[in-house]
């Protein structure tokens, strides 16, 4: 079927790259794969109508927003239970994680997405704003905050 062929082609081309973007945001290989697969299924019907050069950006935006949506849902759930936060299921030993990545994983979701898109995907600010559906100024302020937080975290670690 054409749609499945298109899906298969897109999957083979873009799956690994998207997995790595999702991994950087989620901190969990399992959740990253989950988010990426969910995203492929969501855009499945649209893939055949997308120009080739738009497939990756479209999928990437879907992955980022799927993950942000999950993070938002999770926050809502945990906020209903002030005494409870879900234990993260992750197979990566915490101590083996890169120090700066740990700091990135502690950022609020939108800041985290900005950092990954800016410093891993090397996207210009305007494209990040498109992905996140916000103003360029918001991206700038989010990145500024994020860098401040990461820098402070690193300085604390250096002192500590």
């Amino acid at each position: 079927m054409e749609t499945d062929d298109t899906l298969r082609t897109a999957f083979e081309r873009h799956h690994e790259g998207l997995f790595r973007v999702a991994l950087l945001m989620t901190g969990s290989a399992q959740e990253a794969e989950d988010v990426v697969q969910e995203s492929f299924l969501k855009v499945r019907s649209k893939l055949s109508s997308l120009p080739e050069d738009q497939v990756h950006p479209y999928l990437r935006a879907t992955v980022v927003n799927e993950w942000r949506s999950r993070a938002r849902r999770q926050r809502r759930l945990t906020s209903r239970l002030p005494l409870l936060a879900p234990a993260r299921v992750d197979t990566t030993p915490f101590e083996e994680r890169d120090e700066l990545w740990q700091l990135v994983l502690a950022l609020p979701p939108r800041q985290r997405a900005c950092v990954v898109l800016r410093f891993y995907e090397d996207l210009p600010l305007a494209e990040i704003a498109d992905v996140l559906g916000c103003a360029v100024g918001t991206v700038k302020s989010q990145l500024h905050r994020a860098l401040e937080t990461v820098r402070e975290g690193r300085d604390d670690a250096d002192r500590g």
Partner: protein, 692 residues
Amino acid sequence: MPIEDDLRASLRRAAGSAEPPGSAWDQLVDRAERPTPTPGTTRSRIGAGLVAAVVTIAAFALVFRAFGPPDPAGLDEPVSLPADALDHTRWLLDELDGVSMAEGPELDLAFEGGEYSARSECNDSGGRYGIEGATLTTSGGSQTDVGCQGAAEERQAAIFGVVRSSPRIELTGATLTLTSEAGVLRYVTHPCSLLTDDEVERATGDRVTSSGLVPLELMRVPGGPRSCSYEVPGTYTSVGVHVQPSTLEEFHATPDRDPESNITIPVEGIGDEAYIEGMGSISVFRGDHYVSIGLQHGAGTPDVTRVLEDLARAALGMDPAIDPINEPVPDDALVIWVEAPEPDDQVFQAPALRATFGDRETSLEAIETPGSEIAYPSRDLGVAVPVGTPVIVRTDVDRVVIRQLVDAGPGELVERSARRLPGELTVLDEPGEVAIAVSYEYLEGVGELGFTVQVAPDEPPDEGRVIGPGLRLCDVQRLDGLDLFGDGSLHVAWTGAPIKDNGRCPTAYDTPHVVALDLDADGSADSWTDLPVCTGCKPYAVTDLGGDGSNELIVLLQWNSTPQYGIYDVVPNGLPRAGGIYPIFVEAPGAPDAGLPAGEPFTLWAGGDEGFAAAIRCEGYPDDPRLVLTWTLSRSPEATTKVIHLTTLRLDEPDASGASVVVVSTSSREVPVAEPLPFSTPTETCGVIWEL
């Protein structure tokens, strides 16, 4: 190395720290064939033993409670059911038209007090119900209206369609099947169904030590284990319970647990079978302690009030900090919930929530926590007040919702839409000065009237001011008549907060601000950049700190006890670098000991008070200016010495790259605490009269 470069390197390493599964495509195909694309990633791995146990318990309990042992005859032909056969039961959708939903989102169906509620992936629906023979009848009802598309929309139509089309009921053991022309829904007993002590004891043989009925709510936590939440009977407090592996060995083998942060405590009153595990920053943020309760197989239903008390005393070393919300609910009380808005672009905007309930005032503080944007000790602020109590709410949030909590039985709390107002409701603006008109939006309910109070400001919302194409600012400060390039053309500078995505002005005092500039002298802003801080900020002056004939813009960043200034590079159009306004950063290596680390935006202080003192002066201005800064900070009232820093800087303004501040020399010396700074800020220096 700048943090940006470090980040790039770190993220590249991290991105390669795990590989996607080799069978990813096969998994995707499997997933595409399932009825819902959202898989349960934890059901089979975490808590399977206990979930199974609880399901079994619940199934037995419900069967015993409602009907006694299941009747095999019921498998073939539905029998007439008692009118209350479904009352006080909760179910989880297992199959929809023969398609398994076991790995999909948890869609439940509950019957309580003559009312039902059904859930699709997108919406909730509810109304009154009854049983006539073996037929479920429903009437009235309401439904949320969240957009639903594709397969989810079809499933929603089937679920709500069956429930509302007088389906035939089949109850066999722990299974509820509803059949009508609209489809077939097969539900299984919800793992966190409502259990009474008697039911648990009858099913397990264990003596239950709880204080009564403990409603459980199963929640799906993406990426985490299944959880149930216990509502503490008679209070507004809930406690989450993770359904964990059924043996302690497995429980402690759960990945990603930090042994140092775990506290395992036998809980008084429920024997050795229940344990509390404390995780996270409990010693840092008391309102942010993360707790999960691991239950071993065979544990009874815990007395959650006691669990809370034990936890608070033993793990946190304090009495339960759950007042004032942990109070008995007066009969027929009204509860005012001030709902905090979703932090959107204003993630650092802490909504000010203060409310006076009768003679009691309480407040809600926002706490920034890693990974959760803004967390609240309690996201909703609410207390119970008897009907007739005057209520004053001061808020800058979007709406005030009034709901009613009803004591619907022993230890059971049901939240419903409120049917009446408290005696008097006053909504004030956040400073508490201006009364805000309140409008009431009545919602049709089933046999009751619910309403939402919308806060409607007296004046139109502040939508900011357009200062240039695509740039709408709030809290605008303007400085006119700036000869930026020494050519006689006059420019304008502004500071302000960009408008929010919703078209309104932000209200938080620490909202990110920008400084904007009219580069082509047409009175309209065409360039802008972020300010690192703004507390009463404004464009302050222009002066040529680089000695190249073009001016820099000085922005007053904060005007409190000690004014702080930022220096901004103004680049005309036509240079190799795009024209615009740019922050000026400290060139490496900077002078970290003197508070000028490399790569940071350059800011300075010209005065000070109390323990902090600073001064600036220019040397060689205007031909070859050097900026000399000195400052000191008294470390404590008892200190006998202090350190005075003295740093000389020059501005480097190459055409093709950004301007930067270069440290020419720096020194720090420890002096007696009474020693003054080596100089004071002159009345005018560097062509600027500085506020000290």
